[in-house]
Amino acid sequence: MNTIALTCTDITVDFDGFKAVNGVDLELARGEVHFLIGPNGAGKTTLVDAITGLTPYTGSVTKDTPGTGAVELRGKKVHHIARTGIGRTFQTATVFDNLTVAQNLDIAAGAHRTPWTLLRRRRHLPETVTATMDRIGLTGHADTPAGILAHGQKQWLEIGMLLVGDADVLLLDEPIAGMGHDERETTGRLLHDIAADRAVAVVEHDMDFMRAFASRVTVLHAGAVLATGSVDDVSTDPRVQAVYLGTKETADAHTA
């Protein structure tokens, strides 16, 4: 049951005449790990910025939530969009360095808390927080300040923060940047695990990682969609090959 969770229609982002994103259509389905790839400057991150309300755009983004129906996201504030269940990570993992892992997750779980709850002390950790810590493998680090976590652990923590926040559309910007081989494998499996009942979009440069874990791929080039389909569809597309000539080397360089 791969229902569509997020629909982007004709998204255009204009930076003073430069169209960073130009007429992009995109659908994200539940149950899929959907990779957004493309050369530098293709507009991948700008597209994520637009969807999450950071950058103004023209076109339409609608979020489909079971039970509540479709909601238009364009024009909403960042935190309102987040509350509809759209979560994002950043190219450099952004967590609260001075707070512990548990505190990070507790904050992420509490966007709906009343002021009264906020003004009191936390007596015990919510169950979702402990469960998620387990899922992202950070239970042993519950009381570690996030600032001293390893690079990969920070990325996992950031993904975990989206999970406890009940996001069902996850937009992850280079989630394996700087990770070693084992960590990438773990991350890939984690992505598929969480995509079971969510839509996951991954902005990535790493082609091997994409081939191993993508359910679907969209290739962006110069702000526009070049191709969409399965890994095989996309990698045999001649236009993609033209853009990605020599991609193998770049990907290897990236890995090393």
Partner: protein, 294 residues
């Protein structure tokens, strides 16, 4: 008609004073992101430079001509020292820079108090700039016209330097992308020092000019500083033309408020106008729009 011309002129005149005080800031704060609270004291140093030169040279006209470049040198030198000793080490802590330079400003004020005394001193205006000129039925003081002219010259010079000289291109490159400029072989350290020199030098020039319309005391610079910062904030960081438009607009706003109420209410009025304006354009009049987080 006369009232309108009079107001227009007052607005332009106040605006040009603001602009002179703010121009250096739009380089150091606008281009480099450094909040230098001692900028006001650099202006004050320019004022005292004019005073000292006149004590020595005697003739008001000659001393003004000497004081203008000398004021630039004094302000610029102070800026260089401050940049090298403190600001260079605090680029990643903009708010702390604000407080550190406030401390520097306190010290400089006290130095002025100890050297020149707390009471205000006066610099006499050259005979050629005394009196007024009739302009569209309004008598306009020549000193004000001179300051307007100086502001125009200073803005033009800064704009030309930024646009056409190699040094200016380097400054713009570093502002645009510090890391990229470094890779291109530009020493961002030298550029920062250079930018700070020019910005602080302009404060010195502003100080010399301000002695034509007011007396000088150790706190002279401080009184211009907040308004100058507001000009840069309202104008938008990184844009000289923003500072120009904002200075004239704030000058006009103040002039209008002063006509219909008191000078003290005008200050409050200007503050409210800016808060409301930032509701509409939080990043100021002109912005360099780039892809960035938040």
């Amino acid at each position: 008609m006369d009232l309108l011309v009079g107001q227009l002129f007052t607005g332009l005149s106040t605006g040009s004073i603001l602009l002179l005080a703010a121009l250096g800031l739009s380089l150091t704060f606008g281009q480099m992101g450094v909040i230098n609270m001692a900028h006001g004291e650099f202006i004050m140093a320019g004022c005292y430079t004019a005073y000292v030169v006149q004590q020595i040279a005697g003739d008001a006209g000659v001393s003004l001509l000497i004081a203008l470049p000398l004021g630039f040198a004094v302000g610029g030198a102070m800026g260089l020292v401050l940049e090298a000793l403190l600001i260079r080490h605090l680029y990643h802590r903009p708010l702390d820079t604000l407080l550190v330079t406030f401390g520097v400003g306190l010290i400089l004020q006290q130095v002025a108090r100890d050297v020149f005394g707390a009471p205000a001193v006066n610099v006499s205006v050259p005979p050629a700039l005394r009196g007024g000129v009739d302009l569209l039925g309004v008598t306009v003081p020549k000193t004000r016209l001179f300051i307007m002219g100086l502001a125009i010259v200073a803005v033009t010079a800064v704009a030309l330097v930024l646009r056409f000289t190699p040094a200016g291109r380097r400054i713009r490159a570093v502002v645009g992308n510090r890391d990229l400029a470094e890779t291109a072989g530009i020493s961002s350290r030298a550029v920062d020092a250079g930018t700070f020199f020019i910005g602080s030098g302009l404060a010195g020039v502003a100080g010399v000019a301000l002695t034509l319309i007011g007396s000088t005391s150790p706190t002279t610079g401080q009184s211009y500083l907040v308004d100058a910062f507001l000009v840069v904030v309202a104008g938008g960081l990184g844009r000289i033309k923003g500072a120009v438009v904002a200075a004239v607009a704030l000058g006009a706003t103040q002039a209008v408020f002063e006509t219909y109420s008191t000078a003290s209410l005008a200050k409050v009025g200007v503050f409210i106008v800016i808060v409301v304006f930032l509701q509409l354009r939080p990043q100021g009049l002109f912005t360099l729009r780039t892809r960035s987080l938040a």
